[in-house]
Symmetry: D2
Subunit: 348 residues, 4 copies
């Protein structure tokens, strides 16, 4: 059955798999000390236009959030996130497991509002009793957000400026960063993100890799003995090459951006198909995730033809679902969806 269930329904992009195969028999030292890992780091820094940055590879998104946040916060600090932020809601309490609180702020279409952040920080330090409270020690954004939406350059600049005013790092969760960068709706480049954030990660798992996320520390701010902290959290791969080779491939010949652009193109067609079918979208997502609102019996019938994800209840008779595109989405998948929608609507 054709599936739009997520952007991680297939294995690796063929170019990545080819790299894994070509390098498979080469003897390499473990734990990320190999040449492919070094090469991948260099290519990423170059893409970010960073002179003094550092890159480290981790396996998955929740792990990356937990490792980065817990090694960068001080004991008395927590991390600020939008109420819908992934770390607030769908990581099973992974941040709290490291002993730190996620402090939530109101959100709009999945985004933190610069003014809310400013007010929170101003109020926190205005209150004389804040020593009994968790200090705001970092700002976490996801970009694209959990709703597929994007920060504009102006918004990111505003948030970055507030963070710098208060001396707290800005961390951007880029699990789907490629889709944000390649979106028609975005005015933010990778160097922009590297310039405005103190640390961020470039997601691999959801952009063509088998697994892997690349953490970028933009200003010589990698925590001391970070490798030991990674090991301590059970996040160090013996065969570090698995991450190095994949990211080396992703940042060769713009593969990361080609993958992302393809998914965006497919998402554009997806939006057209839903519009044509008269199916409303929850919000205008400019990236690879789309959130149609389906009438419940329609939904049940569509499920017989196409796979997608439950997102949230809309009202008593409607449900929000998620359709995602990726490198593996094809025009044939689109045709099949179109046909299924027509069939159910009785257009055939």
């Amino acid at each position: 059955m054709v599936s739009f269930e997520s952007d991680y329904i297939a294995g690796a992009h063929p170019e990545i798999l080819k790299s894994l195969q070509e390098t498979n028999l080469i003897s390499l030292s473990g734990y990320g000390t190999d040449i492919y890992t070094s090469r991948a780091k260099e290519k990423i820094l170059k893409s970010c236009a960073l002179a003094e940055g550092d890159v480290e590879f981790l396996v998955g998104g929740t792990q990356t959030n937990a490792v980065v946040i817990s090694t960068m916060l001080s004991d008395h600090e927590g991390v600020l996130a939008a109420a819908t932020g992934h770390i607030s809601t769908h990581e099973a309490g992974a941040i709290e497991y490291t002993g730190h609180k996620v402090l939530t702020l109101p959100q709009e279409n999945g985004k933190m509002i610069p003014d809310s952040l400013k007010k929170y920080l101003a109020d926190f330090y205005a209150d004389g009793n804040h020593e009994h409270m968790v200090f705001p020690g970092m700002v976490y954004l996801s970009h694209p957000t959990e709703y597929g939406t994007l920060y504009s350059r102006q918004e990111l600049e505003a948030i970055s400026a507030i963070c710098r005013e208060y001396g707290i790092p800005l961390y951007l969760d880029g699990a789907r960063l490629g889709y944000g960068l390649m979106s028609h709706g975005s005015d933010l480049s990778l160097p922009d993100i590297a310039r405005l954030c103190d640390v961020f990660y470039i997601g691999g798992t959801k952009v063509g890799a088998l697994c892997g996320e690349a953490v970028v520390f933009t200003r010589g701010n990698k925590p001391r003995h970070f490798l030991t902290s990674i090991k301590k959290r059970g996040a160090l791969l013996a065969k570090g090459r698995l991450l190095g080779v994949q990211f080396d491939a992703l940042f060769t010949d713009d593969l990361y951006f080609r993958i992302s652009r393809h998914a965006i193109d497919m998402a554009d067609r997806l939006k057209d198909i839903f519009e044509t079918a008269g199916i409303p979208l929850l919000l205008a997502s400019p990236t690879n995730q789309q959130f149609p609102i389906l009438e419940n019996t329609f939904l049940e019938r569509l499920k017989e033809h196409v796979a997608f994800s439950f997102w949230e209840k809309y009202d008593d008779t409607h449900t929000v679902v998620r359709f995602a595109t990726s490198w593996s989405t094809t025009e044939e998948d689109m045709d099949a969806l179109e046909e299924a929608l027509k069939k159910i609507s009785g257009k055939y």
Copy 2:
């Protein structure tokens, strides 16, 4: 350069890579809900001759130890390990990071001694003040041990009996389990281990996989909501297929055992080569890791021809090093080593 540095110097065994390739484009749901993962679980349980067991896949060894130990211990408990146990020494404090103490016992060639364990437990409960002490809540063994040595069936039965007498689970770290099972020196089968342990893992990373360890709960004792606990520790892969497909391949046509047997054969030749060269071994390891004691200038010269690992200082003029074999070790590698040794010894 020929390398015996570790058993994770190469990528995946070709049969595994082939499986990854063949399944690459198939659409599968995430987080281990796919058919390959289910199939791998069934095959493993069958190999273990377990009727009511459970299998879960994790990414690496330290992660597996931390997840299993921290979810199975009660709040007031710690885990007993030999002083040389991996969790005691080389995991950067990953167990302590979960809030639990590693309680150490004396070791002999890397093994816990059944009588030491018995005495520890008897003394603990004899002492009226033990409520201020960490309760022994689990026994951790590595098999093969960090020194390549193996528990005999009699020893494992003795330890298992003690654990059951005191009602604490026996956990076996099988990062290199295959090499133990295929060793000529072993009288323990996989079903024996499944029968005697409460939980153990079958190592993939060091036995031919790119990554992955299979945790086996042998008696319906998988912690409740284990998936959520895995997620909470940042250890859940979105593309769970990466683990499922690999273990499905490893447990098809006895690949896991063939890989292990090959490495044992290579290790046998390794021992012969060292014996012929008059190089003593630290101890008689019946598995894929060998620990020659090299004179320091000899070591420096050998390093120019062959890669291996530093293990520990032996005395002022000698050093213990580690040579490991794996699926990727070839007869040509052996010839090259033999030649290098002869060259340095001036035998040519």
Copy 3:
């Protein structure tokens, strides 16, 4: 200067201090194994009309919350609290430090709303993806709340019924429980609370003791090896007598209730004084904490005569402050306040 800054501005109630003095030279074993501790436990259980309950003493409120919550939650669970709950806001992340999330619900005058709780739980289990989320594993209420308000018997019964329906314990933070029990506005007795909650604590620090909180497990549900868990959290007193003797005194001749009643009487007069002075209260608190809204210049002048606490900004020209009464509040304090208000208002 007369002070209404908090209910912990004085030392211990004289009857408590007398008990400490009278027992001071008696040789007693440590860690809560003494006769006064046992006696205090019995008296408390009797006051609660509990047959099979357990009582344990801890030192302070945040410590008690952290110990109780972290030992009763399972690994995959968090605790539900009103957004204004003390554990959500003013305990510096003490719950998160134990690795568990505080899940927040909307509040009304500091209280959790039974319907919000019901909806949260129903929605949680309706959503098929909840395995990536923190499970609701306990409900936390403070009574009186941080705003001095109280749950009615009907409300507590509703919340208790929901908790039992979902099989999660109800925990009540009674840092100021006495003031709730003795309030004219309350229809809840101590046995009611014991019957409806699974665990709760009777606050000592804010009701006349130097320190100390009595945790009551109402249904044989004290965590196993709780003493070791207390020790592990650095919360075990060597001289356990300090808590036992104080609670023995508090539950002798109804001292706990007399102290609380006195503070309520003083709070009644406080409300009269503010009403007479035309100063509005933020909300109708039926307990020992009152929250007048002061015009800012008036506030500055009042501070020269009387001590009180900053609570929160009301608007640009007004501030909410907190006045608290306790066993040590006297009629003379009231007269002084009355006089100060008159003086500032120019009534003299």
Copy 4:
């Protein structure tokens, strides 16, 4: 019955209780912001001859160890202690609960051996693979040790020099510091300790207080936002005065030293009594704890007359027990012990 069970069998020294009583009705702000707390800090710094030190009060010993160690270690570090150190054995895993490992070194009569420490650190940094190990980030000593023994000035200077060479703080657990300082066998003054250690605590609970330990940071090295970290660990007292008033009394008119000296005098008589009775001591303890080796039937008979603590099994027919003296030990207690020993030995 006469008791030598511990040095915390009585309440507070009468001068401390008097201070609590005299200050009881004075209105004071909470959380350690009161005048008695400030005064106690000043007096302690003066006693330590410290110009730029900081003092903070905590409630008990295990809590103090956990708070100090966990706030001063970096993420990748653990704390080095003698194998018999209190944090290694009798604190229920309180340090591990904070996510840090206790690294143990051999001991001699309860003391860490400077050469063992030196060798451990040299070996650690010599080993190229130490990034997978817990870094030694602090040295923990107890003084007096758990066996009542003391470091000489020379030994403490040696350990301090090693710590400074490696740039790791030296922390001294002074739960019974007074008894060390007043011992005839000690050549270390309080200013010596302040000069040689980076942080240490002056124990109150076991030296006359109801509870309380004074942490001294000797070189402007108090962790930032330490109050919030204390609160986060549930270790902040609302009525901070309870600690301030007691330490103010302890450091007025040399009370802390008078209490300690009295206990040492009593311990001297204790040693005489055991010598006269022909009862051997496990080791020569120069402080207030003595460890006689009793024949088991003798022990049972003695228990009918005098209370003491079990320490450890000596051999099949003998047991080591602990006798402790304190401010509350009297000459009459000694007479009673003497008489009991004579009676059992059949000398009457």
